[in-house]
């Protein structure tokens, strides 16, 4: 026997005010620890404040400085370059690895998968300290180069003006590739076998198969991977802090490092807050773009 419809004529599953009650605790925590401090940061970004004495109003000064001051513009430029290493390369390499691993039967596959994923498990501080010694003037990398007679290529990687940023970037690639690969491997298992069979019947080779079946099938995973890696790349702080401290000169300073540096080392809290807000906006914009472009849906 069917129950009488409730007095409201809403269909089941329609939002009901009682629903808000369920999310209220989470919302309260979110509001208290995320939205409220963020609002404060926005407020601070309109002030000149040294963290101690009375603040004075700055208007839009801290924000216009982001465009006019080259020492503030540069970190954002560096962050975008780092995205190539943190996001683009890991996704490409991860796709290649996943395609290879799902197609060819590799002996000890679990072993390789674990090894490639391992950097994800390590704390960034550990990663930074380890790579700092690998990239040292007489570290592992330079020793290896010298051992094979490539002495001319050996250089103080983290202290070299041109190479410091790519060197830090490579560490990022090393960390993020495993994550992408694992995501893609999981996604590839979800693609129906029939599609591959159909492709092969149509005479597609490995490359064609990759572009026609694997890649479209992994759209969702690619979007997730890009979102995660882009965020990781833009909020990169620990690696820079440990390896170069923004140097040589300011060649590897990035926005997240600059936030810390200005707030705690230069006593320019307003400017630090403005960078933080700008970084948040940038991350938001990029992730929305990614989910629209790659996933093809409105975020």
């Amino acid at each position: 026997m069917k129950g009488k419809p409730t007095s409201t004529s809403r269909a089941p599953g329609e939002p009901r005010s009682i629903g808000y009650l369920y999310v209220l605790p989470a919302l309260a925590v979110y509001g208290l620890f995320l939205l409220y401090p963020f609002g404060q940061a926005v407020g601070l970004s309109f002030l000149h404040w040294d963290g101690l004495t009375r603040a004075t109003s700055a208007g839009l000064d801290n924000y216009t400085a982001l465009f006019t001051d080259p020492t503030l513009r540069a970190p954002f430029g560096h962050a975008l370059i780092l995205l190539v290493f943190y996001a683009a390369l890991p996704v490409v390499i991860g796709l290649l690895l996943a395609a290879t691993m799902s197609r060819i039967r590799v002996r000890g596959l679990t072993f390789f998968r674990t090894v490639l994923f391992l950097p994800q498990v390590l704390a960034m501080v550990v990663v930074g300290v380890a790579w700092r010694s690998i990239l040292a003037p007489d570290g592992l990398l330079n020793d290896a180069l010298r051992a094979v007679g490539l002495d001319g290529l050996a250089r103080p990687w983290l202290g070299d003006d041109t190479w410091a940023l790519p060197a830090v970037g490579v560490v990022g690639t090393w960390v993020m590739t495993g994550l992408c690969m694992v995501l893609f491997l999981a996604g590839a298992q979800r693609i129906p076998r029939e599609l591959y069979e159909a492709a092969r019947l149509d005479g597609a080779g490995a490359v064609r198969e990759f572009f026609a079946v694997t890649l479209p099938g992994l759209r969702g995973e690619i979007s997730v991977a890009l979102t995660l890696t882009i965020i990781a790349g833009l909020r990169n702080f620990d690696l820079i802090y440990i390896t170069t401290g923004g140097g040589p000169g300011n060649a590897t300073s990035v926005p997240a490092y600059e936030v810390y540096h200005r707030a705690f080392e230069l006593n320019e809290v307003g400017s630090a807050a403005a960078i933080g807000v700008a970084l948040t906006v940038l991350i938001f914009a990029l992730t929305v773009t990614v989910s629209r472009l790659v996933e093809g849906r409105r975020a």
Binding site: Q40, L47, T53, A55, P156, G245, E265
Partner: protein
């Protein structure tokens, strides 16, 4: 300040960032202003009469020797005054620096804190009225005669005259330091001997020995600058060779700045040493700790760094280690180098027990305290009897001897990064560029001046710009 940079702790930084996001006030916290706060009583206060007191002390003495010395002194102080309990919070320099600001402006500031000299910390705290002036206590406890004026002045901040900003290095006393430190010339006796080189007595002998060491296929000076700040000390020493008094005046905001032949000459010497291979040319890619490790392993005849490294270097090199002030121009002449004293121990303006805090400050800087420091391998600002008893040929004995030479010759020049609130940043980046060959000595000097000149101008003419500094 940069001397005390230790390996940075990301965790603490992250915590500090988290804490900062919750700071509600931006109003300077309404503390009493330093200028009107009383400086203390008249007779020597007796902490025993203060009733039960808990003294909250924040310091940055986390290294082996200094930590042991403070722990012992704290224990003794509590033993002498059973009614006083000391609650100690000890953090590395970096961690203290990032959290102290929040703690001081909060509702429950500690009673005694270690504040770094210079504009970013001590002057900023005084400007916000967070520290108590200690001039009266300095009179009562005779700190004025205990310490050489050069050292005591580093802990002074001027009262802001109408229209001007506060200045560091003159004015009221806001702290007292326990330890001394200077950037010295360390040498490995074994390496020098192998190359047939005597420890130099003059600057010329020193530079000659660099060429000889190079010829003997030894690295003359071990040096790593990946951490950015070590070059400040190396360059500071070179600049002090060109005139210590002028260098000091510049740091204290009354000199002729950095576009001078002295600065360019010092910078040229640095690049020249790099070109000749006296310093490792990959210095920008080598960490400070790694360079010190190499020096301990016998790679490098000399290294130029502070006395805070002595205990560590001695552990590996033993009596092969030697330390001296940079050799003067003529034998027996006056040496000069970058140096000063440890972070100032200051009393906060909202401490409920300033007299007990002052008695504590006196206790940890007393003659007895100096002996405790010496026994723990720490250089006291004013060496005592235990220092006299050291073997003058041992590294510790040499260090104390060098310190006495430097203080009696007035040869200590404050750290360059005290010069302006942003000078650590500017000078360390500029030095990396200089070492990388990206900037010429002349451009390097201009870069320093571009930070220095506007700050000094602002210091002198704040009123005319009409900015409020309420």
């Amino acid at each position: 300040m940069s001397s005390r940079f230790t390996r940075r702790s990301v965790l603490a930084a992250a915590l500090a960032v988290g804490a900062a996001s919750c700071t509600p006030g931006t109003d300077g916290s309404g503390a009493v202003t330093g200028d009107t706060a009383p400086g203390g009583g008249n007779g020597i206060p007796d902490p025993k009469k203060a009733g039960n007191v808990t003294l909250h002390v924040w310091d940055q003495e986390v290294r082996g020797g200094t930590n042991a010395e403070i722990e012992q002194l704290n224990k003794e102080f509590q033993h002498t005054y059973p009614n006083v309990t000391i609650k100690r919070v000890s953090r590395s320099f970096d961690d203290l620096k990032t959290t102290l600001k929040l703690a001081l402006s909060g509702n429950n500031p500690p009673d005694v804190v270690q504040a770094n000299q210079g504009y970013p910390d001590m002057v900023a705290f005084v400007e916000a009225g967070l520290l108590t002036p200690l001039d009266n206590y300095a009179g009562i406890y005779e700190w004025n005669t205990r310490y050489p004026a050069t050292l005591l002045n580093l802990n002074r901040v001027s009262v802001a005259e109408p229209g001007a900003s506060r200045r560091f290095g003159t004015g009221r006393l806001y702290g007292i330091s326990q330890t001394g430190e200077f950037v010295g010339l360390y040498y490995n006796k074994k390496v020098l001997k192998q190359a047939g080189v005597q420890p130099p007595r003059t600057w010329a002998e020193f530079t000659d020995s660099l060429a000889e060491l190079k010829k003997a296929d030894e690295l003359p000076i071990q040096f790593g600058n990946l951490d950015k700040w070590p070059a400040i000390h190396t360059f500071g020493m070179l600049q002090d060779q060109q005139g210590a008094a002028q260098a000091r005046d510049t740091v204290l905001g009354r000199g002729d700045g950095f576009v001078t032949s002295r600065t360019t000459k010092a910078a040229t010497t640095l690049t020249d040493w790099l070109d000749r291979g006296y310093l490792p040319k990959d210095a920008n890619g080598l960490g400070y700790d790694d360079a010190n490790k190499k020096f301990m392993a016998g790679q490098g005849a000399y290294t130029i760094t502070g006395t805070w490294m002595l205990a560590d270097l001695k552990k590996r090199l033993g009596d092969d280690l030697g330390i001296m002030p940079p050799p003067p121009a003529t034998e027996g002449g006056k040496p000069a180098t970058t140096g000063g004293q440890g972070l100032a121990w200051s009393v906060t303006s909202r401490s409920a027990h300033p007299e007990v805090a002052a008695a504590y400050l006196d206790f940890i800087t007393s003659e007895h305290a100096a002996d405790v420091m010496t026994r723990n391998g720490v250089l006291p600002a004013v060496p005592g009897k235990a220092a006299d008893a050291l073997d003058p040929k041992s590294p510790d004995g040499q260090m104390v001897d060098a310190w006495r030479q430097l203080t009696s010759a007035d040869g200590l020049v404050p750290y360059l990064d005290y010069a302006t609130p942003t000078f650590y940043d500017t000078s360390s980046a500029a030095l990396q560029d200089l070492i990388a060959g990206k900037a010429s000595p002349r451009n390097f000097a201009r870069k320093l001046q571009s930070d220095y000149a506007p700050f000094i101008k602002k210091q002198q003419g704040k009123a005319s710009s009409g900015a409020s500094d309420s």
